[in-house]
């Protein structure tokens, strides 16, 4: 749609995610939801009815690992391009010290941040780690193909780690979804691909400056020649 900083004389719009990233993100999100539903149906007898969404218990059991492999590919494809943006800096610690202000919707007294704050970085790194744990433990308990590859005591360990890691991952996704709902103006980054200048000014000022600077630098050789 748009990968340039623009303004209409009132509102600045900043590109945050490319079309590829948005499609990738929503594929990952749908896979995550399907994995959670099929996984929970096997984890809790009271939620076994959810397996009907997949065509019954055996079908849910059969499809779950394949969905998992697809998620590993889509998640790490998305995550690979965002590694450098998620390195933790000193500013993140200052931000964390002021977490009370963040939670109280106060915008003053917080450090200027790059593209992500520590909460977002936390979601990024914890999901990356949990998905690796889920992949390893999931392969070990994939009876159909790897039933004989590991010992029974290892499989017991893998099964218990898999279910706990999955539930922690779901809890973290709750935080991720809630944060997007709570912080108004965020969701459009993943639908339209852009955020407003005001949103970036409040939440990620260092990133805003970077984006504005990069845009002007690109425009500088022929500032009047821009198509408008």
């Amino acid at each position: 749609m748009d990968n340039q900083v623009r303004d209409d004389g009132k509102i600045v719009t900043i590109p945050r995610y490319s079309g590829f990233q948005r499609v990738n993100h929503w594929i990952t999100a749908i896979l995550f939801i399907l994995l959670a539903l099929s996984g929970l149906s096997l984890a809790f007898p009271s939620l076994f009815f959810l397996s009907a969404l997949f065509g019954g218990g055996a079908a849910a059991r059969a499809i779950h690992p394949w969905l998992g492999l697809a998620l590993v590919v889509s998640f790490f494809w998305l995550a690979a391009g965002l590694v450098s943006r998620n390195i933790i800096h000193g500013d993140d610690i200052t931000w964390l010290r002021n977490i009370r202000r963040v939670l109280a919707n106060e915008h003053e007294g917080l450090p200027e941040l790059g593209k992500y704050n520590l909460g977002q970085k936390g979601v990024y790194w914890s999901q990356a780690l949990l998905i690796l744990i889920l992949l390893g433990s999931g392969l070990a308990i994939w009876q159909e193909y790897f039933g004989g590859a590991t010992s029974i005591p290892m499989q017991r360990f893998a099964a218990s780690i898999h279910s706990l890691a999955a539930m922690i991952a779901i809890a973290i996704i709750f935080i991720h979804v809630y944060a997007a709902f709570w912080t108004k103006g965020t969701l459009r980054a993943m639908t339209r691909g852009t955020v407003t200048g005001g949103w970036a000014y409040v939440h990620h000022r260092k990133w805003l400056k970077e984006m504005l600077g990069r845009d002007s630098a690109a425009a500088a050789p022929a500032p009047r020649a821009r198509r408008e």
């Binding site: 009132k10 600045v12 939670l103 099964a159 709750f174 200048g197 005001g198 500088a220 500032p223």
Partner: protein, 306 residues
């Protein structure tokens, strides 16, 4: 989904239904007693099992042991495990143990199973798989402390000895019991079998096997398949029969504490978000911020135009 087809169900896997209790106290618990000291290794029990249950394991290869086939399988529900043991005090011994499901009173397979009604424990103590409800996850293999259930490669379902629940239901003894030519395999009420075993253990002790005893491990609540062992102090001699089997603490945690921890994490976060939104409200971008951003853009544009 889970149904209770009879009054004689004590436990049902992955079910929230409460099994009927109306005649639970009146039902006699059954047991099979395998007297290892009387076994001659003829394999009549293996044949009778295949025949009654109509199992057709492919013809295997001789691997140089009287133990044949080499292991339990989806289509081999009982197997004589053969050990040649040499010791200074007793010389050479052939120890033959008929292996198969032990029908634990506290079955690890049933605890691990996520499919409603795929594993049933009857009031008489028999633990049975209902393959119609089996989803093929293989969790029962991980739950079992005796390494008994086997996974069917083609149909992706788990199988094991049923203790001939179909025969027992109509008052017959299991097929292996019927076929055993030396009376090494017996069947009856658990109480009677314990009696029978104690007489036999006494007999064995009088003949020099002073460590003879009954194998009815308490760690799994006792079993509905029991052994008379001539060396009850060393069950491992009989191809690693576990001395103190119990549902692995890892499985207990997976099906208990781990789930509670996971649920607590999800619930805490969901509730936290709900309360936070109600108390703090949305985090909105003030209009001035949009103006600030626009001013900032203008400034950077001017600076680079110069």
């Amino acid at each position: 989904m889970a149904e209770l087809p009879s009054l004689d169900i004590r436990r049902l896997s992955a079910s929230t239904a409460v099994p009927p209790r109306i005649r639970a106290e009146a039902t006699t618990e059954v047991a099979k007693l395998i007297d290892v000291s009387k076994c001659i290794g003829c394999k009549a029990c293996q044949v009778a099992c295949s025949e009654w249950n109509d199992l057709h394991a492919p013809i295997g290869e001789n691997v140089g042991s009287i133990q044949n086939p080499p292991d339990l399988a989806a289509d081999t529900w009982t197997l004589m495990r053969f050990s040649e043991v040499e010791s200074a005090e007793r010389g050479l011994e052939w120890l033959i143990r008929k292996d198969g499901c032990m029908h634990c009173d506290d079955p690890g397979c049933l605890k691990a199973c996520p499919a409603p009604g795929a594993i049933v424990q009857y009031a008489n103590g028999i633990v049975d798989f209902n393959e119609a409800n089996c989803i093929g996850c293989g969790y029962c293999l991980k739950g079992c402390p005796f390494n008994i259930p086997r996974y069917g490669r083609e149909d992706r379902k788990a199988y094991k000895c049923t203790l001939c629940s179909d025969r027992v239901a109509v008052g017959l003894e299991p097929a292996c019991v019927k076929a055993c030519p030396t009376g090494a395999i017996m069947f009856g009420s658990k109480e009677d079998m314990i009696h029978q075993a104690s007489d036999r253990v006494e007999d064995l002790k009088s003949r020099g096997f002073d460590k003879a005893g009954l194998y009815d491990p308490a760690g799994v609540g006792g079993t509905h398949v029991m052994y008379v062992l001539h060396h009850a102090d060393q069950p491992e001699l009989y191809q690693n029969l576990p001395a103190d089997p119990r549902i692995s603490p890892v499985v207990q945690w997976w099906k208990g504490g781990g789930k509670i921890m996971g649920l607590a994490a999800m619930g805490f976060v969901a509730l936290g978000g709900f309360v936070h939104y109600l108390t703090s409200g949305p985090n909105e971008v003030p209009e001035e911020a949009e103006e600030e951003a626009l001013a900032m853009r203008r400034k950077t544009q001017e600076r680079s135009a110069r």
